[in-house]
C-alpha cells in the first residue's frame, strides 16, 4: 500500500488530492502505467510525463526511481514558488 498525492492541475484532472493504492509497481514509471490503465482521467493527467515532476517520500526524484519501501509518492507540475 502506498499513498499517492496529486497537486495543482494534476489534482484537478484526476479529481482528488490523495488516494491509497495497492500496488506491486517496482518503479514510479511502473506505477504511472498502472494508473493510466485505470481510467481516462489518469491517462489524460499522465499523457506527457515531461510536464510532470515526482517526489518519493517528499524528495524530488525521477520516473525511474524504485518504489521499494516507499510510503508516499506525489505527482505535480513544475513548481512555481517565489
Amino acid at each position: 500500500m502506498i499513498d499517492v498525492l496529486y497537486f495543482a492541475w494534476v489534482r484537478e484532472r484526476i479529481g482528488l488530492p490523495k488516494e491509497r493504492i495497492e500496488t506491486q509497481a517496482a518503479t514510479v514509471a511502473d506505477l504511472v502505467e498502472e494508473l493510466k490503465a485505470r481510467e481516462e482521467r489518469y491517462a489524460l493527467a499522465f499523457s506527457d510525463l515531461s510536464a510532470l515532476r515526482v517526489a518519493v517520500d517528499q524528495d524530488l526524484t525521477d520516473f525511474d526511481a524504485p518504489l521499494a519501501g516507499a510510503r508516499e509518492v506525489a505527482f505535480f507540475p513544475p513548481m512555481t514558488g517565489g
Binding site: 506525489a74 512555481t80 514558488g81
Partner: protein, 148 residues
C-alpha cells in the same frame, strides 16, 4: 536559519527590520520579497503547496546556502493559500560579513525556491483561472550554481 511556511500575511518591513536588528554583527543584510502584482486584471492568487515536503525542501535549500557561503543566518517566509494584489507572497533575508556572500546566497535561495520547493501558483482573473506555467528561465537559472 528561520523557515516559515504559513497562510497568514506577513509584514515585510517589520520582518526585514527585525532580521537586520537581530544580526548587527553581520554588517551586510540582503532581502528579497515577492509581491502579488495586480496587473493584467488579476483579482487574486492562490498558492497550493505540499505540507511536509515544503518545509523539508526549504530547510534543505537554506542549509545548502549556509554551507556554501559565509552566512551568519538566513530567513525564508513563504505563504500559501489565497492572497490579493499588493500582498507579499514570500521573502528571503541573508546576513553576512561581506555583501558578496549576502547577495549570492539570497539569489541562490530564490533560484532554488522558485523551482525546487513544492509551491504552485494559480491566478484568478474575471472569468478565468490559470495555473502559472514554470519559466524556462527559472530552471536555467539553477545552472549558474553548478560546479563552482
Amino acid at each position: 536559519m528561520d523557515i516559515r511556511v504559513q497562510a497568514a500575511p506577513f509584514d515585510f518591513g517589520a520582518e526585514a527590520g527585525a532580521f537586520a536588528e537581530g544580526h548587527t554583527q553581520a554588517g551586510a543584510i540582503v532581502t528579497f520579497t515577492g509581491v502579488v502584482r495586480g496587473d493584467d486584471s488579476l483579482t487574486r492568487m492562490e498558492i497550493e503547496h505540499y505540507p511536509g515536503m515544503t518545509e523539508r525542501a526549504l530547510e534543505k535549500i537554506a542549509g545548502q546556502a549556509m554551507d556554501r557561503w559565509a552566512l551568519a543566518d538566513c530567513l525564508v517566509i513563504h505563504r500559501h493559500g489565497p492572497m490579493v494584489p499588493g500582498e507579499a507572497i514570500m521573502m528571503v533575508a541573508t546576513a553576512a560579513r561581506h555583501r558578496a556572500d549576502a547577495f549570492a546566497a539570497a539569489e541562490f535561495l530564490m533560484d532554488y525556491l522558485k523551482s525546487r520547493a513544492p509551491f504552485w501558483k494559480k491566478e484568478y482573473r474575471e472569468g478565468a483561472e490559470d495555473w502559472v506555467a514554470a519559466k524556462d528561465a527559472d530552471e536555467a537559472a539553477l545552472g549558474r550554481w553548478d560546479g563552482d
